[in-house]
Symmetry: C2
Subunit: 402 residues, 2 copies
């Protein structure tokens, strides 16, 4: 048979060959749909009103995708898997959504409670823990599958359940949190995930939020029912909790709950904590050795967040309505305000790059995220986003308490 | 034509069809060869003797690949791209190698000097800067292409060049470094990369290594030619440098250069610096507010590295030969040694996970990397590696001075 005869195959046979090629090519293009890339420069922006998140990257300062279908994202917060690939988004409606930042789609979703307020991830990355208002308690989920691993109700002796607030990750598979109605602080250890063990501490009247200091040593709960804060030295648990900053409370006149500044708006830098004063136009400065107030810095209005640039050199402060279009910068060396900026309308949240050279701000009422260079204090980027609130970068995955 | 006829094509035609399928399948498998995955849990281990690096992942504690062809890796160090995808490996022979951790291959390599000793990356990730002994100076390379962007010789008025040591990244596109022979500290600003601008400071006699404190505020150079250290407050550059710790030097009797502990073995935790004493079996504790020595902790032998666990609660110390099979752990609250371990023979380097729950140690003379749980102080993993030295995780990408 000549080579010429081979090439001239019957037309129908070519159809079979082409079909085989199409099958092979389509198998090829469908795995994987997303390009190979690092995840260290990724992040998400919450678009609260629409139940969406934007997946962004910080190298080119651009939006990669918008992912839909995350439910009620009021007060939504986010933690990341250790590898930086997945964002776990905690919605207000009890929704726990796992977003794949590489494939830019929802990888899993559960509505695990009626009313929830954030979550955390274990240091080894294996457990995602959610804190719930209704029914009050915490639940631990397998970070891979979102399967429920343990349900730990916040129940007291009288059988009632409390709202859980101020959840944070500790070393090991431990989590610390506060019970609003019961006035307790609890630590639950999930070392044996199916059989969690809980320790209890006195917490003060109506703890409403809390934080762990960046070194993981102190847990501090704000108290709605009394002035002052409850502090636990996590390196000396036997000592239990104690009261600090009795002057830090609801201010000269009681304020409604929705006005309480979140403690997550606190910062610790250079052995000092910077915290928004309640009901006053001041940022309080507290020595973290003695937990005594050492300074008060006058600012433009009622502060909401006082965020330290990662090097601790500057504190960036935003404000409550109607001054929520302003941001001020405090120099921690001089204790003075050095810059007063107007980045946009309705500044809800601020997130620094991990080395501190940029800050990303949500300007909700302008439907924009704006990006500032922290050295020049000039805008260097930004993009459209529908009512953006929280901004979260994957570099949080490497940090305790984030 | 019947369908039967179609199926019975000439044998040679089937050869053509199969060839086409093979071509399609191989095109398919070559793009991309690596699976989609996050990069936040990756790292590299230097295999010094073989010019290789192992690409590892910390979630399953496993080796993903071994990459060959990196030249002389004595004293090799590594920095990472912002996205965590690329490792820039600085070899002793002046080799600068860019390793793609996802595709697990060399993405670029240049031999850029005759004798080099480490490098750094700009905060925006755009420039990789190498410090060279011969010819003395620093060179900046485009992080994407490894193209030379700027060559800054370490030249003094008399026309001679000095070896460069102690290179570290500062905010912006600035880098700080020391000149061994000239006794100077310099800061070069690459804001306009093709036209770098350099500031000069007195540095003391023969600076041999240096570090930047974790908050980026202080630069400290060790001096071989005199006792004490040179310190620059980077937030107050107008003040220039000053001498601190005049008792910190070559010890009671001069030691050869190869015995000098590297300052990168220092740690700062809770307002205190922990540094290996020179020629003594002690770790010195220094107050970072006053830069005065406040304590000396007795340890088993001559310390090499005193590494703080990321939460600052513990300092892990390894030792010079012949005691380099031992590691001791200091509790920073009590200032006492709590644990004495024998993880393997020839412990050269230790790297913590960013949340501090594991430490990975190179046991060179056992040809192993061993992994310890820092809570239980028990070995929980490990793998074979040929004469491992440095271990570097991608979480360094998010930190200043790493």
């Amino acid at each position: 048979m000549s080579s010429r005869e081979v090439r001239l195959a019957p037309p129908a046979l070519w159809g079979v060959v082409l079909s085989a090629m199409v099958v092979l090519l389509s198998a090829c293009s469908s795995t994987p749909p997303a390009a190979l890339r690092g995840t260290g420069d990724l992040g998400v922006v919450i678009e609260r009103a629409d139940g969406k998140v934007k997946v962004i990257e910080t190298t080119g300062r651009s939006v990669l995708a918008t992912v839909d279908g995350l439910g009620d994202l009021s007060h939504a917060s986010v933690v990341f898997s250790r590898d930086g690939r997945y964002a776990f988004v905690f919605g207000r409606d009890g929704g726990l959504t796992k977003v794949d930042l590489l494939e830019r789609r929802i990888a899993g979703r559960k509505v695990q409670a009626g009313n929830a307020i954030g979550g955390s991830i274990s240091h080894d990355g294996s457990l995602v823990v959610v804190q719930n208002y209704e029914p009050g308690g915490i639940k631990a989920f397998d970070a891979d599958t979102l399967e429920l691993v343990a349900d730990v109700p916040a129940t007291t002796e009288d059988g009632t359940r409390s709202k859980v607030v101020g959840l944070a990750d500790l070393s090991g598979k431990r989590f610390i949190y506060s019970l609003f109605e019961a006035g307790e602080i609890r630590i639950t250890d999930f070392s044996d995930p199916r059989n969690p063990v809980t320790q209890r501490f006195a917490g003060g009247k109506q703890p409403y939020d809390a934080l762990v200091t960046p070194n993981g040593r102190y847990y501090i709960a704000g108290l709605f029912g009394e002035d002052g804060l409850a502090l636990i030295d996590l390196w000396n648990l036997d000592k239990g909790s104690r009261k600090i900053l009795s002057g830090y409370g609801r201010g000269e006149q009681p304020l409604p709950v929705f006005k309480m500044p979140h403690l997550r708006g606190w910062s610790v830098a250079g052995g000092r904590a910077y915290l928004p004063a309640i009901g006053r136009h001041e940022v309080l400065v507290v020595d973290t050795g003695t937990w005594q107030e050492v300074d008060r810095i006058q600012v433009k209005s009622q502060p909401v967040f006082a965020m330290a640039r990662p090097d601790g050199r500057e504190i960036w402060v935003n404000f409550a309505f109607p001054d929520n279009g302003w941001v001020q910068v405090i120099d921690t060396v001089t204790g003075k305000v050095t810059d007063t900026l107007q980045p946009g309308r309705g500044i809800l949240h601020m997130e620094f790059l991990s080395k501190g050279h940029e800050i990303w701000l949500s300007a909700r009422d302008d439907n924009k995220v704006v990006i500032y260079d922290t050295a020049s204090k000039q805008q260097i980027g930004g993009f459209d986003s529908a009512s953006p609130s929280g901004i979260f970068f994957t570099t949080r995955a490497a940090r305790t308490g984030f």
